[in-house]
Symmetry: D2
Subunit: 345 residues, 4 copies
């Protein structure tokens, strides 16, 4: 017996990625995808990879009852429509920022406040590597931000292993692809202006700082650059620990944390072209790659973390969490391993 | 009960793609991948998307007995080792050019002759859209060339429907990605020299002319350009038919030919960004897209055809043919639909 | 004594390119750049390469009197404002399509007619290789279209040398960069959708067909593809001559036509990576590269032509023509040779 | 009267860039370009942008006497041939690492030692913004490393203004293009493997750390990533000063340092697409762009610096220094402002 699913906001990049994943998922059946602007048009007319799907966008006003509703609306929308979503579905997975932070103070500082602060405690953060234990049976799940996801996966083992306390100096230098900006976009995201860039687009004060602080209990110095790829977020964490840390300590921390994780793999030295995490190696998959080097000269740890921002950083993470919430096989619908070679991810 | 498979020449791009497909295939179990240069190294050390595979390259001299052997060796190798391959496996699928042309005269003219001309008649051309009827039970299968595949899929309906006789003027202008040159490569394929090109690399006399002539019975004027993508072959066919052809004639020909094909889809006009076939829309999948326009001013038909050269143009086609040969579900292991958006394919 | 110049429509890509050329030109002094949307903003705020220029956009309603006015307005604008332009300047160079076709019938068929048909005979086509003799003293000059320019430069020697009569079958398959679409652009030109494409965007009926026909006296079958570069137009002409043509005939025709041209160079075979014309080799320069191969098997000539669409295909051509019109050194301000290596052109 | 110049090692990317600059330079005349591998071939056969140059590579054993010799040999070569170079030319400008560090201990730690330590004091570091006063009349000039150049230009004003003392925590996260790896290159630099990457290639211990330490007197934590561009180095410096620093302090420091510099421009906030330094905005030019933000939350300064690694980071810097050494106009031959738009730089 399949589980029915709908995607609210199906024309955006994240919505399209969810439709792809759910369409190929052994447990879900997509019964509705909504779009304000493209109602009655075929899904394949917007997402050419889905030309085979026999589905048309419907008006978001006509929500059907389903088992699971995935909301891919812009930030600020789902907090206003959450009751409607929960009336329509037993399980709601929100891919916006609206329920991913645990306290209203974050929304006051980094966003425009929150309309439904009472729900924040109820919502479960989707990242299984951090919050797997609370996901089974969850009925309101909030997918994490892509840059925060990459950063958290890179840093988590250091906190869990006690290598970091939370008072260390941590710089996170992020490089992201153009899909992070979504399907719209003006002059800055046009091909002629956006190709080949290394463009600082969030030098300071990025909202994902709050998310990292909320879930790791540390402040981080965060800077985001746009680079010439479409999918992918790559986080380089420069960390200055309070005491000496050996390569052995690091391996122990990372292996201990991730050896049983189905979607995290280590890439840390060794031979060949792909020695450290990079978005190309995980593009199109739900894998995160994590690796590190120790810099004794500067008493620094350098941690690399790479994900596909639309998969592990968004739609893949959402499906992964939904799988756990609903008691499915964790990896169901997420087994695709990516390609080699691949172009700009 | 799984079918055992080996990949001879597993470090190249095509070999890696086959390993990916076979690893995710419900019927095959990969028991061996050979490599002259990387013996004993892990498959994931070369193909980072396959880091999860527990397999090391072995020496090609130590061929194991398997049900199906896929040969991804350079042109000219498998014709010399074919007996060895057939001793090792009941079914041999060759992805080089060595058995894909039906007559030795083609090898004399376009290659350096053929060592085993007697086998040419025995070998079956892998392209199911052209040769499905002869594939069941075949034990020597030769995958087509990527540019020829794109061209043949574009032109086939016109011959089958009687719109073309074979004496018409046909220009095929091809644009291909850098994976077509394989995993090696000198200065011309370095990133600095190869990025952003529109580079005529085979103005005339490309070997795939022979393949198109052999299977469609028409001569074509063929020119190949390298462009800035990694996967993908896009064929634009400019055709001058002997008499008037209407859009209705064209739709009838193409729909008639392809409506039941699982891996060919039409993209011909309509709205949105992706109105005609393009490699981005099929990258990573086994789909071919075909579309056309009628140019009454110039009494010309323009036919577009786009494939992923490593999938429909090589490894995907090989697996598709093997599925038919071995009686599996045709689409087994080939269901992946591709991504949107995706970078350079 | 410098010649004063203004650029009407200075925020677009072509306008910016003209500002760059005129700013570095030994004879011109830029005294005005207009912009409807960005009036009062600095030129460098839009075109970052011009951050050193001490110039702000002014309102197009406040045209200053100058010696030479370059109009970079969208098609259809300058035909309505031409009197105003000619009042402001002794020489007007129009970079739109408004005066580049010699007869009003072309505008009726390919555009929305013409408001000032009487001026068409007066206007001089800017391409010096075709029309140098009529440029000295010209006071209304119309720059050619980029695709037409590439095509005409490729074919011209064959007509001049009598190798073609005008009744031959000629297919022109064009590949262009994203700057051809201008500085605006919607979903189709966003980085995520436009990167890595081989996208048929004008399968048939492109307006530059008219321009080629008008100036070469032959009809051509024209198809345009968008590829992943920013600057550049590459034309591959597939030509079926009425009789045999040797390589020697071809060399004689091309050398005879172009040996004294300062901005056309041959690239036709030879060794190395760059054996034929390609946009990368001319990016940022006013050079056109032309080359060919003879295909005896198919009785075909293959001619390649590559330009930077914003230089030889637009702003560079305009300055070249203005240099001749005003009696300057032909190459003044256009000496830049381009780079090696360079990314996507 | 022109100054004669030769380029030793003219087939590499840096050698080609120097040939381009010297060919367009009002004071220099290129009389020789040497190449071990391409002797007797035309310069334009390797560097297609120089097809107009009437020059063939000659054997490096046949050095001609010139006024100025530019050495573009791989690291380790010029220290062995320096006497030969100085016999051939009154002024030697070395673009390798062989003379750019002031003390032999750096070569012992970061390279394989030094054969001619006695010359290190004699050599002048080429970067005019740091060392202009010592360049007039210098006869042995060593161009800086590209990553070090970008970093030094970003940090210098903070040291000169007393904002930093040298004991602060400084992280430099660098993103570079593929030309930094030179014209050779194996699998890692092939188009298929190198396109679209964010690849950590020097996580720790990069040699340019030594150069920054040598010239700024501070240790830095340096990490280099390869990204998808060809030309360009972008340095993001994350700095933790000992006390509070205001935006006003920063502007005063940077304006004070650079307002009279012909090749450094500020890009720091403001509107439009290009608000901070980025390689696209300076590609092909000798400009460096520098900008910053203050992050009070994290008590951090973020400084951005972008150059074309082949220009300001190598050949352009070399010509700039030679101009000063020889008493030419500082900006001679370096006036090109770059393009907008441009592809991958």
């Amino acid at each position: 017996m399949t589980t029915t699913a709908s995607v609210v906001g199906g024309t955006g990049f994240t919505g399209g990625e969810l439709l792809r994943l759910l369409d190929g998922h052994p447990e879900f059946e997509v019964v509705q995808a909504t779009s304000r602007s493209e109602a009655n048009k075929t899904v394949g007319g917007i997402h050419p990879n889905l030309r085979h799907m026999d589905l048309r966008f419907s008006d978001p006003a006509d929500l059907e009852s389903v088992d699971t509703l995935f909301a891919c609306t812009p930030h600020g929308v789902s907090m206003g429509q959450i009751d409607e979503f929960r009336d329509a579905a037993g399980t709601v997975v929100d891919l916006s920022a609206d329920f991913r932070l645990p306290e209203t103070t974050y929304y006051d500082e980094y966003y425009d406040g929150h309309e439904r602060p009472g729900l924040l405690e109820e919502a479960e953060y989707a990242l299984p590597e951090l919050n797997r234990e609370n996901l089974p049976g969850a009925d309101l799940i909030a997918a994490g931000g892509c840059n925060a996801t990459a950063s958290i996966l890179g840093l988590l083992p250091l906190f869990e292993a006690g290598i970091l306390d939370g008072d260390e100096q941590i710089v996170i230098d992020i490089k992201v692809g153009s899909s992070e900006g979504g399907a719209g976009g003006g002059a800055a995201s046009s091909h002629a202006e956006r190709s080949g860039v290394v463009r600082p687009y969030a030098p300071t004060g990025h909202r994902h700082e709050a998310e990292i602080e909320a879930y790791l209990g540390t402040s981080v110095s965060f800077t985001v650059h746009a680079v010439d790829m479409i999918r992918g977020a790559s986080a380089t964490c420069h960390i200055f620990p309070n005491g000496p840390v050996s390569k052995g300590d690091m391996w122990q921390a990372y292996r201990g944390q991730y050896e049983d994780e189905p979607f995290v793999r280590m890439a840390s030295g060794g031979g060949g072209v792909y020695r450290y995490p990079e978005p190309k190696a995980v593009a199109g998959s739900n894998f995160a790659e994590v690796g590190f080097e120790v810099d004794p000269t500067n008493k620094r740890l350098v941690v690399f973390s790479a994900i596909d921002n639309m998969m592990k950083g968004s739609a893949g993470q959402a499906v992964h969490a939904a799988n756990i919430a609903l008691g499915f096989e964790e990896t169901a619908g997420l087994e695709h391993t990516g390609f080699h070679p691949i172009g700009a991810p």
